[in-house]
Assembly symmetry: C2
């Protein structure tokens, strides 16, 4: 038995080496990177005998910092301070050139750039634990194409159905929007939405629900490479060029129609939620006020309050909010519809903080009830994963 596998291994490995130039990687095979140590520090290792400098960029380091690695026998090493539980991104910089960690299979794409990532969990129940895959029943993720007559195209979205969906009857639905740098895969990839939902549902902390993740770039059919535009390089603000022919609030009914006709869905406001991050927070804001009474649960995560493609969104301050008659009527209508939860979360270092503060003041003036959550940090996934975790436990209950 063992003999067979050895034979196979030799045979196929020799083939692979020829085909894939794996010889280049052989020298790296004994190296482990990153290694999360018992004390919570993390050690990064890179084999680069010819490098003059090697550094680490990581989102656990102070903003704008590269730390130097030290070299011994061609292996460059850096050990971090003890890290709190979290999902972290990093890459190496060798002689000024970005190099991904060849020992780490896990990559995350932000627009056109890749990062390695790893998870630190220090105890059961912390966020690292929550973002990890556990031996619990897993939900499915469907990559589906729906028809959007409003935008005049087929569009791709991801739909999470909870474990047991096939055996259950009907489920509530959370519509979950990504930000301006993302696409329909963002919440599943770096957002860890499937892991968060699997784990919260398994622990009984969230209701089993369907999570619908559309593409919010309304001039695109799908993530780069999955539609007929070809293998283009994604760019920031790609959703604005060309300017989309309709807004998210205008085209949203196409999404809801597809979901409610293709999935086992509870079709009432008590079982409908909408949320999103940044631009997607703007989408949740816009869609919820466009359709008062459609959602009982609304979540704005670091929202871009004034995001939109209509001309009355030219200003972002309290004065422009106060002057917007349409907004006033919509917020009044939404208030009258009495959604059960209007939840806003933002970090105190977020570049949208002051805009959000103005929006909260505006809501206060309108005596519009909302729940507010403020924490550390900026406009980052660390916060959006956290907000999803909090929001998901508050809805459909």
């Amino acid at each position: 038995m063992k003999k067979l596998f050895t034979l196979w291994a030799v045979c196929i490995l020799s083939m692979l080496t020829a085909v894939a130039q794996d010889a280049i990687f052989v020298e790296n095979q004994e190296i482990v990177s990153p290694e999360v140590n018992a004390d919570g520090t993390v050690t990064f290792r890179l084999v680069a005998p010819k490098a003059i400098t090697a550094q680490v960029w990581g989102d656990f380091l102070p903003e704008g910092t590269l730390v130097d690695m030290t070299e011994e026998n061609g292996v460059w090493t850096y050990t971090s301070e003890p890290l709190n539980a979290e999902l972290y991104a990093y890459f190496f910089v060798v002689n000024g050139q970005t190099v991904l960690d060849p020992q780490n299979t896990y990559l995350y794409r932000n627009i056109a750039n890749y990062y390695n990532y790893f998870i630190v969990s220090r105890e059961k129940g912390d966020v690292g634990d929550l973002y990890s895959v556990h031996e619990v029943p897993h939900g499915d993720v469907d990559e589906v194409w729906y028809d959007s007559p409003t935008l005049g195209m087929q569009r791709r979205m991801l739909v999470y159905t909870p474990a047991g969906y096939d055996k259950g009857s009907k489920y509530p639905v959370l519509y979950l929007f990504h930000g301006a740098g993302g696409d329909e895969e963002a919440w599943i990839e770096f957002g860890r939405a499937a892991q968060i939902m699997d784990n919260l549902i398994a622990e009984g902390k969230a209701k089993p629900m369907i999570v619908v993740m559309p593409n919010g770039n309304l001039n695109a059919q799908a993530v780069a490479g999955k539609w007929s535009k070809g293998m283009y390089k994604p760019s920031f603000m790609q959703h604005t060029n060309p300017v989309p022919t309709a807004s998210m609030e205008q085209s949203f009914p196409d999404i809801q129609k597809y979901v409610e006709s293709h999935y086992k869905v509870l079709k009432n406001r008590q079982n409908r939620a909408v949320a999103g991050l940044s631009m997607g927070g703007g989408h949740a804001y816009a869609v919820s006020k466009e359709y008062p009474g459609n959602f009982d649960y609304i979540g704005l995560f670091s929202p871009a309050i004034l995001y939109g493609i209509s001309s009355n969104f030219m200003e972002t301050n309290l004065q422009s909010l106060r002057a917007d008659q349409k907004l006033s009527r919509q917020i009044d209508a939404l208030k009258a519809a009495k959604p059960k939860l209007y939840w806003i979360g933002i970090g105190d270092a977020d570049f949208l903080y002051s805009q959000n503060k103005d929006y909260r003041t505006y809501l206060d003036e309108k005596q519009f009830p909302y729940e507010y959550y403020e924490n550390d940090g900026g406009h980052i996934w660390v916060n959006w994963r956290k907000y999803l975790t909090i929001f998901a436990q508050k809805i459909f209950k």
Copy 2:
């Protein structure tokens, strides 16, 4: 309008730069790489002003070759010979260190190593065209978890449903297995199975069908990172350690049961096909002879004929085949069941060529009818994509 977007762009870009160290990439923004030129040559460009050497590895180059790039003003360049239509993989080697192309968003993972890729299409209807996404109706891809009582675990697989599935009645099913270096995502990612099927179906060249892509590593629940083993680094022959508790042929009924109870499936042999590449060709070989009469269409792509986890698969030659009484009975039974197509495809440089030749001789001796396709090249995706394209047009007709 434009003013708004400009404001946003400045605001958010400044945030992103701070968060994501995009400054490192700014110098690269004017560079296009790879660029497929009008004459079919391809130009690769890399900004690396501090590099002493920069090279390209690519599967369009002679095996085992790295070609040197030339430098001007810090930009390294290499232009290939004219390339035939195909999907090609490559990466850079800077000062001996593997570096992915920062201008190319498209990556493919082979076991633990990443490659950039690009497509060359020289005319409509060539393989590059076939592997590209076109403005045709797209099928969905479901990432589902099914119960395998035989293996004692929940397992993940990908299921392609053709465009119009929701409106259609019932569909034939192709079960499609990956190789020893792959997982349930292999056929969708580098295998371009969704694009091949979308395009063939849209052109009327293949019947609309469901394509089921299980995980063939029977000691794993899923691709690395998607199950509770954690964020481990995948290794070659990972499917053998630990030795799985059951074989693909033993556990296959769990897959078929799930598919036939969860999808709109024509449940008869005329509408059931099985195929696979390398180890997965061995799975198709094993499953088809274990269940004669279950499949009318069987496809072995560069198959590992003697792959299995039982001890009578210790030898790979004509003598061992002739001496295998169980195999003889199974092939007789399969012959008696008269499947409509038993298709074998292999490249003349494949390291499994001689084993396959022995198997064909064995089948000839048994007067077992099969269709044989031989072409150039080795044990590579170029061939497996081609075999899927050919096989998919032959089945369910």
